[in-house]
Amino acid sequence: MMKLSKYVLYDILRSKIVIAYTLFLFVVSISMFQMEENSSKAMLSLLNIVLIVLPLVSLVFTTIHYYNSYEFIELMSSQPMSRTRILLSEFAGVSISLLSAFFLGVGIPVLLFSADATGFALLFTGMSLTLVFTSIAFFASVVARDKARGIGFALLLWFYFALIYDGLVLLILFSFSDYPLEKLTLLLSALNPIDLGRIFIMLKMDISALMGYTGALYKDFFGSGTGIIFTAGIMSLWIVLPLWLAVRKFRKKDL
């Protein structure tokens, strides 16, 4: 399995985009910690960057990489290798390179300036989101027929998860504000990996006290061991499910 991903990884790590991405994350993280005196304020700013930029870069980079490697994937499929192995190797190569960019760019500054529970929650969320959106991007590119559609589809998914979804949740909460919705909001948050990550980190910060009754319920749930297992479980589901669908589609696809 590593035979192919090793070379995919080597190829990506030399590309200028990944290097630029790493530098960007690193500069942003360092400057956040330098500008804000209170490190938890810096974490909050960093959180917003991680939640918006990471999914976007993972989606777009993966989709472009997939289409650029199309002829190479074709050649690999003329070798004695199963389709499943080819796609999983590509996934491993892309996700390892994006993870290392995140670790170098955000992980090291966070470990230097704020190595506490919040810091680790941020790193966990960032790594999970990278994997989740790489997996979703593979699904989008395998399903879409050409590059333009693939990138369009990926961007649409990003808009949905990063912007539209929150709007929809707010709409539901406002229209049904007469009913007790705490459990429902908990469920709704699980359906969006970005929201799940946000809640998971927020509750590790002091500001969760400002979030009222729902916040208390969340803190009760996410603060406990079950909450952490729940978050990890849902995140893994978000990683495995799109990837599994992508592999299933890829096996039957005409290259």
Binding site: K3, L4, K6, Y7, V8, Y10, D11, I12, R14, S15, N68, S69, Y70, E71, F72, E74, L75, S77, S78, Q79, P80, M81, S82, R83, R251, K252, D254, L255
Partner: protein, 260 residues
């Protein structure tokens, strides 16, 4: 070695392969010819398992093609367009392919590795160059060397000489001739009939997804009274009133006078 039974493939409204059946055995050099979009590449890709036919069966060495990829060890494939990861070095590609087939790096000789084309094309000189810096022709040479690398019993070459300079094209043709003598099965698609003249033993002509005929070259020469492939095919197609525009184009190609 390869048996194709009633395969069909439809891309939306277009019937790309229309009930194709054929059987190729070793020692044959089969030229797949036909106008653009006649289904040649799709047929090749079906044999390689890249395209899944809607129905029908393909056997390679008596093994039915399904999800088991092991049969592809016997096939060397040279694609029409070879594109490789931008930052991958030429040497790494060969290393990776050997890796995938579990060829030990120290003793490649224990496995059948054929580096003749790497030497003839002088690819070792560019082993340290990244793929993105290579010209189209050089990439084509790399693809050719990849196809012959594991001394496979079946060679599938999709437009092998398109884009190669005359010298390299001649090297490749010599190599194909040498492999032909080793009693291998070779499938070639090409529009340059003069290139095929010296190599081919059988002609398979396709049009609009249908196989129009599959004949050995002697029969073709006898039927048409023409020794040269281009003319022979042109005659047979004119007689049966196929796509005549394409034939005229074929006739334009100058032949160097070598007779098969």
């Amino acid at each position: 070695m390869i048996r194709i039974e009633n395969i069909n493939k439809r891309f939306r409204k277009l019937q790309v392969l229309d009930n194709i059946s054929a059987s190729f055995t070793k020692g044959q050099v089969v030229s797949l010819i036909g106008p653009n979009g006649s289904g040649k590449t799709t047929l090749i890709k079906s044999i390689l398992g890249m395209v899944r036919p809607d129905n029908g069966k393909i056997y390679v060495d008596k093994q039915l093609i399904n999800n088991d990829p092991s049969y592809r060890e016997k096939i060397g494939y040279m694609p029409q367009i070879g594109r490789y990861p931008d930052n991958m070095k030429v040497g790494q590609l060969f290393k990776m392919l050997q890796n995938i087939r579990n060829v030990p790096a120290e003793k490649p000789d224990s496995y059948r590795v054929d580096k003749m084309l790497i030497k003839e094309f002088e690819l070792e000189k560019i082993f340290e160059k990244p793929m993105r810096t290579l010209s189209g022709g050089t990439r084509q040479k790399v693809s050719a060397a990849v196809a012959f690398l594991f001394d496979p019993a079946i060679l599938i070459l999709d437009e092998p000489t398109a884009g190669l300079d005359p010298l390299s094209s001649e090297i490749l043709k010599e190599k194909i001739l040498a492999e032909k003598k080793k009693n291998k099965l070779i499938l070639i698609t090409s529009h340059i009939l003069s290139d095929l003249d010296e190599l081919t033993t059988h002609i398979m002509y396709m049009q609009e997804g249908k196989m129009q005929f599959f004949k050995d070259i002697e029969a073709l020469q006898e039927e048409t009274g023409e020794l040269r492939l281009g003319k022979a095919i042109a005659r047979i197609m004119k007689g049966e009133q196929f796509n005549s525009e394409w034939i005229d184009k074929m006739m334009e190609i100058k032949n160097d006078g070598k007779i098969y």
